[in-house]
Symmetry: C2
Subunit: 244 residues, 2 copies
């Protein structure tokens, strides 16, 4: 049995998220439909993790098993033929039989884009969180430092999260300013449900002066979701890379 | 009578272009609808020029007359309330009564984005021309030099163009490479119908090695559209700025 890993870029705007659901169309479902046409023996695909409705991926990773003899370099093109233009397979590789997209991931990189300035953008309306208020970047950077390292991120995850162990390590958290864009990059060994969006929502509250940078360590220790900032909207979030 | 100039950003994907038409929904029509709600006396808006179906604008310029007493800094927000999210008014200013968006424009800046590499992009599918072939940038730059200056651009305009005088001046033509993106910027005193898209289509043919850079001056002199390259697709083109 061949175990094939594929890399997928998608625009999450019109999907209920990665994961197949009863209500709404998912990215996974669209890929399964395409797999069904290209490799007739494949009814299952495992992603590295979920992304929410409206969240994008520059490079989601997933794997599936097949007996198909299709050459590996033909896989992206063959799958793309049966996919809508807002989902593109951008890579494929043969993996050992035991390779698992989720269990074997050792980390993930997310990107979050904020658009500052008075007016929202027509061209990038589904690509950013538009924040009108002027932001104190010095305070934001001070707050960012507190998230780095290993912490219990209970306060920075959705109450709906069912995972028991909420300790995660953030290896990297950086910002870059390009014109009106404020781009965050965050790399960690794993992320809890809504964790990136709550961290960003909290950083923006700090930038607005509504929360002090110094309280971040206290919020982490208190493990209380209601002390952290709001969940930033989905359309600014991009799964950038899954690390193995 | 107040003469108000507005600046507009739009995503051209779902429109038949700037200009009001019998078939299809235009950007102009959407703005007119909004103007009708905000300033009840306004039934006309003059743009700096047309953009085709699928072509975008970072900053289109237009003006209209009104007796309305609305404060100028309230105009963008008021109009945006009645506009779809893919059209945003991003500026407004009072102008002298004789100001005319088209006649008084002394130049325009356009941007054209090409995406290179094997795979098209899901996230930017309506924002680029995807060109798979490897491109010889040295040859493209050699060809670019021939477009600069004052020429009769008959060969680089649509045969449908009804303008008599086809002499235009290209003041600036530059490229920038950012990752997989190849971005052209072109500034001139005015552009004929499809002129930017035919220049870009020709430059890509040169980059592919299908046309020699040295033939550009001959094509200009021959004034023969069929000797130039194809018209590049609309979704890579952005009206960046109208100069007054």
């Amino acid at each position: 049995m061949r175990n094939i890993q594929i890399l997928i870029e998608y625009d999450g705007t019109d999907y209920c998220g990665w994961q197949k659901q009863v209500n709404g169309i998912s990215v996974q479902e669209k890929i399964l439909n395409s797999l069904g046409k290209v490799m007739r023996d494949t009814q299952k695909i495992t992603g590295s993790g979920r992304t929410d409705a409206g969240v994008h991926a520059w490079e989601q990773s997933a794997n599936f098993y097949t007996e198909s003899k299709i050459p590996i370099d033909r896989v992206p093109l063959a799958l793309n033929t049966h996919l809508p233009p807002d989902i593109r397979v951008i890579g494929a590789a043969e993996r050992p039989e035991e390779f698992h997209s989720r269990y074997h991931a050792v980390g993930k990189i997310y990107e979050y884009k904020v658009l500052t300035g008075q007016f929202p953008s027509a061209l990038n309306r589904n690509r950013y969180w538009h924040v009108k208020d002027s932001l104190d970047m010095g305070e934001i950077e001070k707050a960012m430092a507190f998230f780095k390292g290993t912490h219990d991120f209970t306060a920075f995850s959705s109450a709906k999260s069912k995972v028991e162990d909420k300790v995660r390590t953030v290896n990297r958290l950086e910002t870059e300013i390009v014109g009106r864009e404020l781009i965050f990059q965050i790399e960690g060994d794993g992320f809890l449900y809504n964790m990136v969006r709550i961290i960003i929502g909290t950083l923006i509250e700090v930038g607005r002066g509504k929360l002090k940078a110094e309280v971040i360590p206290k919020i982490l220790v208190a493990k209380n979701r209601s002390l952290a900032g709001p969940t930033a909207p989905p359309q600014g979030l991009y799964l950038k890379k899954v690390l193995y």
